[in-house]
Symmetry: C2
């Protein structure tokens, strides 16, 4: 086989089968991975959560992960945020002709590692090869299926005045790591993406409190965008204590130099959790005992006042409105 991906490998014939065997099956094989056009999986009666997400990130490799890890974590986290247990994943690849096979293998291997950690099986896939210039490197679209239990069903529209707003770690790492990897600014800083599967942390939180109102993973729009979504969907205000929003010193430094708001930098391993005030201690304890959520803390509360707005209480006690997410975010992380 060549050491780069060829158009013939996307044509559906013998070379496609070879690529699937050597790269995809070698890493993702499991008893459910299908040889037919669809996988067959067992589910209990009830409700499923379904989520899909496309991943185009440049560069494809960054400190703390790559597009493969991102594609698994992003979808697993979306399913888990609904209160579901993620079980199955499908993945579709669109690969540029000439893409190095060794890099593709690294990406697939890190998908496999992330899927193992998240407890999901990749059951079906698709590979297309596009001509040079038709796609930029590798795009991955994953779709996740999870099973919903009978417990809480957290959603964006369920936040209530008085609720506590928790974030599960320091914000803006992923966006900052990507920005530095692009090397457009000549800034040297040691920032690792927070990209991680959060299903176990979410499960722990739900086990600690069956009345969590909202769980959202902050992705391309950062924690700020999630807070605005919750404010709009629930018709409430969000009051943030700016001094309590955890930002790593190196991220804060980069944001300072470039004039960026860390609340709008992408995360890929951070949750916003909204729960009743009397459940905060239990939820915080459960999150802090979970991998990838050790840094959980309360950053604010839900208010009846200022519906649809996120208001920041600053260090010197003044209140400002966090600007609503609008135009293209910098850096653009898809």
């Amino acid at each position: 086989m060549n050491d780069v991906v060829t158009l013939a490998q996307g044509a559906g014939g013998k070379q496609t089968s070879e690529l699937i065997e050597r790269v995809f099956k070698a890493h993702l094989a499991n008893p459910l991975l299908t040889e037919d056009d669809a996988a067959v999986v067992d589910v209990p009666a009830g409700r499923l959560a379904l989520s899909t997400d496309g991943f185009i990130v440049s560069p494809a490799f960054f400190p703390g992960g790559d597009v493969g890890k991102l594609a698994v974590c992003g979808t697993v986290n979306d399913v888990a945020c609904m209160g579901a247990t993620p079980l199955y994943l499908t993945c579709a690849f669109q690969i540029e002709e000439g893409y190095p096979l060794a890099q593709l293998e690294t990406i697939v291997a890190s998908m496999a590692a992330a899927a193992r950690e998240a407890g999901v099986s990749v059951v079906a896939g698709d590979t297309k090869v596009a001509g040079r210039g038709q796609v930029d490197g590798v795009f991955i679209t994953t779709t996740g299926v999870g099973v919903l239990g009978r417990g809480a069903r957290p959603r964006g529209g369920a936040a209530r005045p008085g609720d506590a707003v928790i974030v599960t770690g320091d914000v803006g790492r992923h966006g900052c790591a990507i920005l530095l990897s692009r090397d457009d600014f000549g800034i040297e800083a040691d920032v690792t993406s927070d990209c991680a599967p959060l299903a176990a942390a979410i499960r722990s939180a739900l086990d600690a409190c069956d009345d969590i109102h909202t769980i959202r993973d902050a992705t391309r729009g950062g924690v700020g965008t999630v807070l605005y979504e919750i404010a709009h969907q629930s018709g409430v205000g969000v009051r943030l204590d700016a001094t309590k929003v955890p930002v790593a010193p190196e991220v804060a430094g980069v944001c300072g130099m470039l004039g960026l708001e860390p609340l709008y930098l992408a995360c890929e391993g951070r949750l916003v959790v909204v729960c009743p005030p009397d459940a905060v201690d239990a939820v915080l304890a459960a999150l802090r005992a979970s991998t990838h959520a050790e840094g959980s803390c309360v950053i604010g509360s839900v208010t009846r006042e200022d519906p649809g707005l996120v208001v920041m209480q600053t260090e010197i006690g003044t209140q400002t409105i966090l600007p609503e997410p609008g135009n293209e975010l910098l850096p653009r992380i898809c």
Copy 2:
């Protein structure tokens, strides 16, 4: 709103919400379409079929359809071919900055029409906008979920010697239509793609015979590639009667001029159905009574001899081996 897609519309903020409202929700809205990161759907206990497929077709509009119709039909057909009833679809869009909004709307409207015909609901979606030159126009990845009943479970590895091989209409239309749309050859011919949702035809066939061994939809590799897959997966030979393979005169004409094998031209609305000989009449009757399968006919049989090969009986009585699909197919249809 602008009349082209902007990077800001892919950034996850306010403009993204506007794009989703105006284009996606306007056409695809249904009670299950989620505002959260994942959709919640009901399923009965049992087995699900899951399939994913990415669609990059150039040109995006062709006689008989567009990439939106294709993206729905392709995945619905894959799920239905497993014997499942397709219920839910997710779709992820990767759109090039500057893509005309009017064209995007046409694509989404034709997805909605195809979904209605196929009886599926689009329950979750994702929109990413890539910079100019990062993607070529619009890519769509769909994932389908279907429910399997307790009846037959057709699969590629279940063909048996003596079985009849049915095709549900004339072959090669889609590939030929795309090729002519590209206008690389200066050939004028009136060929319409066969792109169609086949779930109802498949359901009729399965109702007529609960022991259908294999159902596959012929896509990018054409009917020839499907026959080779069945030959390999079932460890059998396939004997084709070349005179019985239906090819529209205009498709045959184009193939003759360009030296193409119609069995290797893409289809997007044709099935290969393999069933026991005593069920042929019932299966054919059911298919012929179904929309999009009126032209169903037997084109050959499964043999114990020549395992792994597709042998063609030609008009003058000689036998030749259909060349195995291998290198890049012409025209390349993803």
